[in-house]
Amino acid sequence: MPMREITYLDGISEGLRRLMRERPDVVIYGEDVGKFGGAFKVTLGFQEEFGVERVFDTPISESAILGSAIGMATQGLRPVVELQFVDFGTTALHHILNNAGTTHYRTGVPVPMTVRAPCGGGFGGGPFHSEELEAIFCNMPGIKVVYPAFPSDARGLIYSSVLDPNPVIFLENKYLYRHVKELVSEKFEPIPLGAARVCRAGRDAVILTYGAMVHESLRAAERLSADEGHEVMVLDLRTLKPFDADAVLTAVAATNRVLIVHEGWRTNGFGGELAALVADRAFHLLDAPVRRVAAPDVPVPFAPELENVYRPNAERIEQALVDLIEY
């Protein structure tokens, strides 16, 4: 089968386009997603192909966007709404936590809606265009949280997210949109939610990570291999809620040393949940304490000199690996 190179952004677009062609119940809306194609152009050309009834712009109204999606999802449609930046979704979190997340438990009515939420920094976006809020969403009952790191995963996971009968927060790392490319085939299989993937083999330690930090972790692992000859496994979680506990435990059993890396804040970050799982179920397998590399507990800074020391990178991950392996 012929292969071609696509970006992470292309992956999301292709997954969505296939859904729109196959499923008349899928509608896409949000701020500037129509003719303009979205702030990042994920839905460029969609309105032209599928019409304004299925792809449309809204007022700047995060509450109305999320709330109306719940209403649509409970009436037989599968809305895919875009928060222009995940940061802005905080003005309407009650709809995700209290409305979407409780509806099936309380009333038995499924809410098959997908919230696309560009997130993450590394490009000078400052405090309000760079946030990583997965920990907030993962704390909410009834919500699924998906966070791909590769174009093929983005394509297969957006497809599965939209067809899932539950509210899904689909996190898209903005830095990866155009920086990550991959050779893929034209046809693709949906990727099930809740399945992690080993994207680098190794026996000396494992990095548990997701999103943009998968790529920083891979770089760190390559450098450590070249510098010290250590081989580090990298496990990309891909779905954060529900996350693949079996894959985590298998990786810990194979490596005995665990480093957790995420771009979001350290305190109450998702890494704490992973560390707790390892402490609870794999304590006897550990040769060293579980370590974390995460953002410090400060608002995302603007200036490159500050953001460079704020956002975890391959260099700091490599140093943490050295400490972990030499423990």
Partner: protein, 326 residues
């Protein structure tokens, strides 16, 4: 305003009275049970406001969607909810609409087109707007009735929803139940406009203020407005003047409401108004209302005792249903 009782057959008026009467008796019973310590959690009633929900919801059609709030027992009843299910809900029974997962006023029915409210005021309005948009995209002629109190018109959700509906010409009547108090906060601390319907101009839509205790006139108006937005889809603000006759909940004695205000609205009790008016117009006889009241009371008695005998939720089911199965 049209309040001609001859413009509809007698049956329509009797149904309207029955809805209000049943609501009143269910809530009277819930109040008593609460003060007897027989209800787990709170009791929040719409006593004295029955006309708003009944008159509007009974004008809705089978395919329409409604999002009632705390004081809208009559909306649930108008759409076909049973007294039995309401008692099951209040008693937290496994057989109730939320199977013990939620309590009191937080219930609905997908089959009846009624959304189950969450406590965050304003938050059901965008859900309703989205639901109506979805049904219309599926080719149905659905309109929506979104209920909201005077207090919740101050929320961002109210603004976003009305504006959203206006921009997309979504046929929804935002029924503002101005009952003068948001918990203890009076209108004077809630907004500065003379009438809440005045806000409609800011959204480029129509706004109407009307008497929320006159069920006859309100029902005729609601039928007219619903037919109108079904034919020409657009949102409307409909402010209904009324008063909350009890506390926010039964834990609250509402002593902050001036006595004269309560007396003024007590003299205009919506249930008595419609019953008397229909007798005066020769549509019904007073004795018929006595029979209807006794019938409703029997329904309430039976429903309460049947619900009481129903099973409570099995603790082992705690984690069931958080997610829908793929």
């Amino acid at each position: 305003m049209n309040s001609d009782t001859k413009s509809l057959p007698k049956g329509a008026w009797v149904d309207l009275v029955r809805c209000m009467q049943l609501s009143r008796l269910i809530e009277d019973r819930l109040v008593r049970l609460y003060h007897q310590g027989r209800i787990f959690g709170g009791v929040y009633t719409g006593i004295g406001q029955e006309a708003v929900g009944a008159a509007t919801a009974m004008a809705s059609g089978k395919n329409d969607l409604l999002s009632p709030l705390i004081r809208d027992m009559t909306v649930h009843l108008a759409r076909g909810q049973t007294a039995l299910n309401i008692f099951r809900q209040y008693l937290g029974r496994a057989t109730g609409p939320t199977r013990g997962r939620d309590g009191n006023v937080h219930h609905g029915s997908a089959a009846q087109g009624v959304y189950a409210m969450i406590s965050h005021l304003g938050a059901m309005l965008p859900v309703l707007v989205g639901g109506v948009m979805a049904r219309r995209r599926q080719g149905r002629d659905t309109i929506g009735l979104g209920y909201i109190g005077d207090g919740a018109t101050s929320t961002g959700d109210f603004h976003e929803s009305v504006n959203f509906a206006a921009v997309f010409d979504v046929p929804v009547i935002f029924v503002i139940e101005n009952n003068k108090y948001a918990y203890s906060t009076p209108n004077s601390t809630q907004f500065r406009c003379a009438r809440l319907a005045d806000r409609a101009a800011g959204y480029g839509i129509e706004g109407i203020t009307t008497d929320g205790n006159d069920a006859i006139a309100l029902h005729l108006l609601a039928r007219e407005l619903i037919a109108s937005i079904r034919a020409k889809p657009r949102p409307i603000l409909l402010e209904c003047d009324t008063l909350r006759m009890r506390g926010h909940g039964e834990h609250d004695d509402s002593s902050y409401v001036p006595k004269e205000l309560k007396e003024h609205y007590a003299a205009r009790d919506p249930l008595r108004l419609i019953r008397d008016r229909l007798v005066k117009d020769g549509v019904a006889k007073a004795a018929e209302w006595d029979v209807l009241e006794r019938d409703c009371l029997a329904v309430v008695d039976r429903a309460y005792h049947e619900a009481l005998a129903d099973p409570r939720p099995d603790p082992s089911t705690l984690t069931e249903g958080v997610y829908a199965d793929a």
